[in-house]
């Protein structure tokens, strides 16, 4: 009972932590093309969306399509996307093939053991985090439901307007 009480305390504490209580994001990732990317280099230029996804996750692929459209629409204004693939070693070879067929041009990092997902306390995918030019998370989305892209676009526009 004591343990359960402690748990309830911890649970309420977590719920009441401000949803976006994160420090400046510092992250170095290796892309699917064996290139290293510092995320700080990306957000210095404009808003960055980090999107965790996998080939086996059908909502991720639906979301990926709308992300591609948003990227094409706003990339010239400084917006970029960093996709972080969560496929395990068994299917990571197919990821490049999928990206090529979908003509996805934004960088994709691989995270076969979910180490990066854990850094952001992710337990399920798709999981998206929008980062402003100061490197702070300003918007999050767990899962994907049709219409999410409309909310996300509004957040991107807000950040881009603030940049001007």
């Amino acid at each position: 009972m004591k343990f359960l009480s402690l748990y309830m305390f911890l649970f309420i504490s977590i719920i009441s932590i401000p949803a976006l209580a994160q420090d400046k994001i510092e992250l170095s990732v290796s892309t699917i093309d064996n290139k290293n990317i510092e995320i700080s280099e990306l957000y210095k230029k404009g808003p960055v969306l980090i999107n965790f996804w996998a080939l086996w996750c059908e909502p991720c692929k639906v979301e990926m399509r709308s992300l591609k459209i948003l990227y094409e629409k706003y990339k010239d204004k400084g917006f970029t996307i960093l996709g972080i693939n969560q496929d395990s070693p068994k299917s990571v070879s197919k990821v490049r093939s999928y990206l090529s067929s979908q003509k996805i041009k934004f960088p994709i990092a691989i995270d076969p053991n979910s180490q990066l997902l854990q850094k952001f306390n992710g337990q399920s995918i798709p999981y998206s985090l929008l980062i402003n030019e100061e490197g702070k998370i300003v918007y999050k989305s767990i899962g994907y439901l049709p219409g999410d892209e409309i909310k996300l676009e509004k957040e991107i526009q807000k950040l881009l307007e603030g940049k001007q």
Binding site: A19, V62, N113, S124, I142
Partner: protein
């Protein structure tokens, strides 16, 4: 008090983040006429606290009592301290790890399957521009996912060196040394555990050109049984070639897993100490499906004795239409002939490729899916999959076999009516045939899922499954369930469901577990903060 704690935390620029998963279920497990009450309560809290000077402390509090799968646990199940700055990453405590494609080492967790090979120890990584060095050492307390009361304990030491002279080329070498204690027989059998020492070196190479990528990974495993003074040697090879063009990509994967080729007596002994060890987990070289009826596996990958190929291709007909074709084919290497009470191994010429002959337990699969978007997120998906697995009874003189074939047609229509409402309709139809000694048992399964989504926050789902099979373990012919999901703010998802769930054999990363049928209420609250 909570607010005070938070104020103190933020004032010192110490940044906490957390995720919480609460799962509760109350219902029954049904096996034919037998109904067993089942109640579970699980609360899992992962907390990370980042300090200045690149330090992070994290822990997992787990209250799993009574558990849905696995063992009862109350307390801190994970804790670690991490230092990550410039080229150096140091972590002490619990951690996962992956070398290459996992032929020598792949430490991961899948809670749904009660599979966890995370290590408790130290991991150091040094990554300047042209190379990476990783050293690790620790202990794995592994509970078998099929029989979770079996504990295997391994002391692990290892290292990995990756050299990347150019962006396009990478060479990797790994070495793992493990000492393990492997229980024999059932928990109360009184048979002492086997002590083993294992050495696993690995070499891999990766070439990533603009259009072509090649990956090759080879590993060898020596296992020494200390008490018996016996040693066993096995090896594994994995390769992948991908070619990319404008609007298409093709990948060919190859596996040749020979970690522990044994006759049928040895092969069926899951507690044998010479088999592939649980901290290894190579690619399965089969498609991982997202359609429900296709996720119920016909074939479990045998990492100790299996050779196979997979071809996967994506092709975009235009900006809105994509095709995905996948085919995979696997079998064991050699066949065995019963000679009295022992088996003679008959080597197969060309056993580096799979065989369709029934004596080699062939499994093959052909999958084709077309996806067409007629709006930003409104789409139609149509797929067809054929799978066939042959189980050969080597103990019978009449060379009997069971051939299970499955043909599945999934259809999904997802339509966004407005920014406030969308509807997804999914139908999966499966025809199954089981042939044994000239007799054929045929039945079909049909699953319908309807998902209503309101304001991108609220979902209402209905699932209905029907079968004509008389052999389902639950004794049922139909299963109906409903689910309500609500996304609260940006960080919380609440899901409640009620009804009957069929269960089945679920696999991930080559790890399989039978998910039992369930009838009752489930609640899940997920928070990622």
């Amino acid at each position: 008090m909570i607010l005070i704690i938070q104020k103190v935390i933020f004032a010192q620029s110490v940044v906490p983040s957390a995720s919480n998963l609460l799962r509760y279920g109350d219902g029954e497990r049904i096996f034919g006429t037998l109904k067993l009450k089942q109640k579970y309560f699980e609360n899992l809290t992962d907390v990370r606290v980042s300090f200045p000077q690149s330090f992070t402390v994290g822990f997992r509090m787990l209250y799993d009592d009574p558990p849905e799968v696995g063992e009862t646990f109350r307390g801190i199940s994970r804790r670690y301290i991490e230092y990550n700055n410039a080229n150096i990453y140091l972590r002490a405590g619990n951690s996962s790890a992956l070398f290459g494609r996992g032929l020598a080492l792949n430490l991961f967790e899948n809670r749904g399957l009660a599979y966890d090979t995370w290590m408790d120890g130290v991991q150091l990584k040094y990554s300047p521009d042209f190379f990476n060095v990783t050293l690790l050492g620790g202990t794995i307390d592994y509970r078998d996912s099929v029989s979770i009361t079996r504990h295997e304990i391994y002391k692990l030491r290892g290292g990995n060196f990756e050299f990347q002279p150019f962006d396009e080329i990478l060479f990797g070498i790994s070495y793992i040394y493990a000492e393990g204690k492997i229980p024999q027989g059932s928990v109360n059998s009184g048979i002492p555990p086997k002590n083993i020492k294992a050495e696993i070196p690995e070499f891999y190479f990766s070439l990533n050109l603009n259009k072509l990528s090649v990956y090759l990974d080879w590993s060898r495993k020596w296992t020494n049984l200390i008490e018996n003074k016996i040693s066993s040697t096995g090896w594994a090879l994995y390769g992948a070639v991908s070619y990319l063009g404008e609007g298409y990509g093709v990948t060919l994967d190859y596996k040749n897993y020979s970690f522990d080729i044994l006759d049928p007596y040895g092969r069926d002994d899951l507690s044998r100490p010479t088999r592939m060890l649980p901290f290894q987990n190579p690619p399965i070289v089969q498609k991982e499906h997202s359609y429900t009826l296709l996720t119920r596996a016909l074939h479990e990958v045998n990492f100790n004795d299996e050779v196979g190929l997979q071809l996967d291709a994506f092709y975009a007909l235009n900006d809105n239409t994509t095709l995905n074709f996948n085919t995979s084919f696997s079998s064991i290497h050699d066949r065995y002939e019963l000679n009295g009470f022992t088996f003679n191994r008959i080597k197969r010429a060309g056993n580096f490729l799979p065989s369709f002959d029934k004596e080699f337990f062939p499994y093959y699969e052909v999958f084709l899916e077309g996806e067409h978007y007629y709006d930003i997120s409104s789409a139609v998906r149509l797929a067809a999959a054929f799978r066939q697995y042959t189980f050969f009874n080597e103990f019978s003189f009449d060379k009997s076999s069971t051939v299970t074939s499955s043909f599945v047609i999934p259809v999904q229509i997802q339509n966004v009516f407005s920014g406030n409402y969308s509807l997804t309709f999914q139908s999966e139809h499966e025809r199954v045939s089981e042939e044994f000694n000239g007799t054929t048992d045929k039945f079909f399964n049909h699953l319908i899922t309807i998902i209503n989504s309101f304001y991108s926050n609220l979902t209402a789902t209905i699932r209905f499954e029907y079968t004509t099979s008389d052999k389902d373990v639950s004794g049922r012919k139909n299963w109906l369930s409903g689910e309500i999901g609500y996304r609260l703010m940006q960080s919380h998802v609440i899901t409640a469901s009620y009804g009957k769930e069929r269960g089945g054999l679920a696999c991930s990363n080559g790890v399989c577990r039978y998910i039992q049928p369930f009838e009752g209420f489930r609640l899940a609250i997920l928070s990622q903060i």
